[in-house]
């Protein structure tokens, strides 16, 4: 129903104090409906017609200036502006996240995947249980724990070291950990990671330290195969959650006797982490 000029005037006076546009339009629509309802009532009850009924309805609606002041007091503009700002910010953040995902996708497309295939993860799941002592070490807000291990007693032995922390934005520095890591065997043999490995670049062009995990592969004087001291990082795999990192420490060509204990030592300036495991017979 089209309102007459005096009703439009009434509406403008009543709503001009509301500074936030969407609020003003909403209140105006609400008041318009009231005017229309009241006009219909006037026409029905008093048998008035057209502008006359509308004028009577406006009289009964009250003083528009008074209503306007009250509405302006109720509708504070800052809430509306904040609502607008939150919508804009949400839009921007959706765009930023979309850009981040696109950028990472582009990066992975151009650099190749750094993640392992699922077959390796299946192998991880099939690993034999290990005897552990102690179960975990806590240092500097990080928890170190041997999660799994495997040995065929001749060619390959590995243990999976998990470093977890509730501070997900501060995962332990892999380069620093590998630098300080030593594997100690029962006969006192100590195996550390060669600098060349830490500085090396894999065949995929990515340094093992730039991926989310690394195999640490090295030999020692115990190795029977003279060619076995080549660093093999092709079998690298990783596992990383929000609160943990798994590092696969691999020893190649170091025979491990049944029941022999493998100890991981990480000598940090803050203290020493020492974790042991006895690997049981297992088959992958």
């Amino acid at each position: 129903m089209e309102l007459h000029e005096n009703a439009k005037q009434w509406l403008e006076t009543a709503t001009k104090g509301i500074r936030f546009g969407p609020d003003r339009r909403e209140v105006e629509a609400e008041l318009r409906e009231h005017i229309e309802d009241k006009t219909a009532d006037m026409a029905r009850i008093f048998r008035l017609e057209g502008e006359e009924a509308e004028t009577e309805a406006l009289k009964r609606m009250g003083d528009p200036a008074e209503i306007g002041r009250e509405l302006a007091r109720l509708h504070k503009p800052w809430l509306g502006y904040l609502w607008n700002a939150s919508l804009t910010l949400l839009g921007i953040m959706i765009l930023v996240c979309a850009f981040c995902f696109f950028y990472i996708w582009l990066y992975q497309e151009s650099n190749g995947p750094s993640a392992p295939g699922p077959a390796r993860m299946d192998a991880y799941a099939a690993m034999a249980p290990v005897r552990l002592e102690p179960e975990q070490v806590e240092l500097g807000g990080y928890t170190f724990r041997i999660m799994a291990g495997y040995t065929d007693h001749e060619q390959i032995t590995f243990v999976v070291l998990r470093v977890s922390s509730p501070r997900f934005w501060e995962p332990v520095d892999l380069a620093g950990l590998l630098e300080r890591l030593e594997v100690v065997l029962d006969d006192g043999t100590r195996v550390s990671i060669p600098r060349a490995f830490l500085a090396s670049t894999g065949s995929d062009g990515i340094s093992p330290l730039h991926t989310w995990g690394a195999d640490v592969v090295w030999g020692s004087s115990r190795q029977p195969n003279p060619e076995a001291d080549e660093v093999d990082i092709k079998g690298r795999w990783w596992a990383r959650g929000l609160f943990y990192q798994d590092i696969n420490v691999v020893l190649r060509w170091i025979p491990i006797a049944p029941g022999e204990r493998i100890t991981l030592e990480i000598d940090y300036p803050m203290g020493k982490v020492r974790l042991s495991a006895v690997l049981e017979e297992a088959e992958i």
Binding site: S86, F101, I104, W169, R195, H210, Y268, P269, M270
Partner: protein
């Protein structure tokens, strides 16, 4: 009877205040997500340095030298090539701990690669002499191979920091005998209280890690305050 005016039934709708709260919570989640996607970068290099310390389980050190992003503190005499990108996007820190120095190089690169930062600990008990040398990490100095010498021709120089020289030192020189027999001499610049930085050219194929050096400190009048000979430390 008044015709029943049909109004569109309103489904459950949040008030504007609650919508604002919901939007802001969603924004917070998305901010956290994008922060994580970018590798949790922090706002200031100093905070990144502290975080690297914690990630390497290093006690908090006292920062004695900070080479800020955008400043070109390395100044090798005669260097013609200037790697602008490196100098604009990197920060270096040298911190002193109890019996060791820690050097950190931050190179915030691209998204999801924020871990392009290195920290290295130089224990003092592995160096002889009263004054200790702290070779600086640089993108072209592969300290992980145990060498403190840059091998990249685009990068003009390498830094070695001596965190403490005798009080009153006005002039200091570090001479290093490279493997090929060439002696490289550089005059240090005072970067902080007692902290001297020696910037060496990298136009040699030989390394200086493990090479002999002579450090000389003189006062304003040219009198020798200290002379120390030793070996440039190798990374451990």
């Amino acid at each position: 009877m008044k015709p029943n005016k049909t109004r569109r039934p309103r489904r459950f709708r949040l008030s504007r205040g609650w919508q604002t709260v919901r939007n802001l919570l969603l924004c917070l989640l998305l901010i956290l997500l994008s922060w994580g996607l970018a590798g949790y970068p922090l706002f200031f290099p100093r905070l990144e340095f502290r975080r690297l310390e914690r990630e390497n389980l290093l006690p908090r050190s006292e920062i004695v030298l900070e080479i800020k992003k955008g400043t070109y503190t390395y100044r090798a005499p005669g260097s013609l090539i200037y790697n602008k990108r490196w100098s604009e996007s990197s920060s270096q820190f040298v911190g002193l701990g109890d019996g060791y120095a820690v050097n950190c190089w931050l190179h915030p690169d691209s998204l999801n690669q924020s871990k392009d930062a290195w920290i290295h600990c130089w224990p003092f008990d592995e160096q002889e002499g009263e004054f200790k040398l702290v070779p600086l990490i640089s993108p072209f100095t592969d300290w992980r191979n145990g060498d403190a010498w840059a091998s990249h021709s685009l990068f003009p120089c390498n830094g070695i920091v001596v965190p403490a020289l005798p009080e009153g030192t006005a002039w200091a020189e570090l001479a290093i005998l490279a493997e090929d027999g060439t002696e490289y001499r550089e005059i240090g610049s005072l970067e902080g209280e007692g902290v001297w930085l020696f910037a060496f050219r990298s136009d040699t194929s030989g390394g200086i890690g493990g090479r002999p050096y002579t450090l000389t400190a003189r006062d304003r009048d040219g009198a020798v305050l200290a002379v120390q000979e030793g070996i440039v430390p190798l990374s451990q």
